[in-house]
Symmetry: C2
Amino acid sequence: EKVLGANDAIAAQNRAWFREKGVFVINVMSSPGSGKTTLLERTLAALSGRVRAGVIVGDIATTHDSERLARSGAPVVQINTEPFGGDCHLAAHVIREAASGLNLDDLDLLIVENVGNLVCPAEFDIGEDKKVVVLSVAEGEDKPLKYPLMFRVCDAAVLNKVDLLPYLDYNKPLALENIRRIHPEIPVFELSAKTGQGLENWLAWLTGQIKTKK
Amino acid sequence: EKVLGANDAIAAQNRAWFREKGVFVINVMSSPGSGKTTLLERTLAALSGRVRAGVIVGDIATTHDSERLARSGAPVVQINTEPFGGDCHLAAHVIREAASGLNLDDLDLLIVENVGNLVCPAEFDIGEDKKVVVLSVAEGEDKPLKYPLMFRVCDAAVLNKVDLLPYLDYNKPLALENIRRIHPEIPVFELSAKTGQGLENWLAWLTGQIKTKK
Ligand SMILES: Nc1nc2c(ncn2[C@@H]2O[C@H](COP(=O)(O)OP(=O)(O)OP(=O)(O)O)[C@@H](O)[C@H]2O)c(=O)[nH]1
Ligand SMILES: Nc1nc2c(ncn2[C@@H]2O[C@H](COP(=O)(O)OP(=O)(O)OP(=O)(O)O)[C@@H](O)[C@H]2O)c(=O)[nH]1
Ligand SMILES: [Mg+2]
Ligand SMILES: [Mg+2]
């Protein structure tokens, strides 16, 4: 309880700071390997020249993801949790520290790619405007029911890797029903971060959210 | 630190109890949806009549996995962590409690399917003999480097969903190199829990381990 209390206080400070700077902040979460980084690579490329975006990437170890995302030209800060205990989530204080390494005056959008984990990141407010969960069709239809908190707290869901559907016995209507059972009104974007299929609805939602904050 | 200390003491008690009962215990971990339950369905079916197996399944919510595994005829205990805080891992005390719901005198093998999470479960000793990590080819090649602790502490790794390889740009030699970089001697079983391809090496390892403990 005490840990979350202190975290919430810092998250509120972050949120005020981001609002003052006019930066829209999204927190992107998923299981390991659902395709967060691949989706963000596509997203940064599509927004380039239209939206000034920066990224904070959290991982236990390696700088692989930040190197991939930095190729877009966007400013990227990598957080590695292994040096301080291997945290399985990003907390508000590490976001505050990482964000101070970016020039927020130059940004419209700050994307946080969280540590790959469908459980703990859902519990930590980092001062974001919206939370997004990425779910891959390769993981099965039941994850929303088995890991409900993540789907309850998120404002949007991305169903990724739809290019694999022809090769899986995947029951997409059931998967969508399971998401809606946990979070009835949540928008769900069905797409392939690999091929780019279905990306336009996700981009429309994201750019619409940025405009609303402005 | 205090949490892990208390946990280690109970884990040691569990281990002594399992040894006295002559039960070999494996702790199976992975990201959500890597295929733990599918692999265990196949494993229980293949061992039926040869090895007396029981299962403890941990999830945040639902009894889906225990229902699937109970179809094998094996005794199965489901742990749901949501009622006590939504823990993202199984600790030794909940394993002690769940195991007391099984008749260990009748078992050669106790399989623990942990909560889907590639981070925290690796830190909690539950009294098992061996830890096994399941990695799906759909998750990419870099997970061993990005989530190193899990691959360091495990005694065996299963590379699952190889039936999807023809549809993925997956670099299997790189994935195996990444596993070996973190844990050089670890045996890696390449298989498809869906089609049954490659299952025999995994079963040979498992039955060999059970015999060694006896
Ligand atoms: N077929 C297919 N593969 C995809 C898609 N998106 C991502 N992948 C693959 O999935 C694997 C993991 O993708 P990443 O983008 O690294 O996943 P991630 O969620 O960022 O992983 P972590 O940061 O480690 O949690 C890689 O092998 C990608 O090539 C997709 O739309 N279709
Ligand atoms: N193509 C393919 N799909 C598989 C394979 N093994 C499992 N799956 C599918 O992957 C999805 C998840 O499988 P599960 O066995 O439920 O995964 P899990 O690791 O037990 O998931 P959690 O318990 O929620 O962490 C399901 O849709 C399975 O049908 C495989 O070898 N090949
Ligand atoms: Mg990533
Ligand atoms: Mg399972």
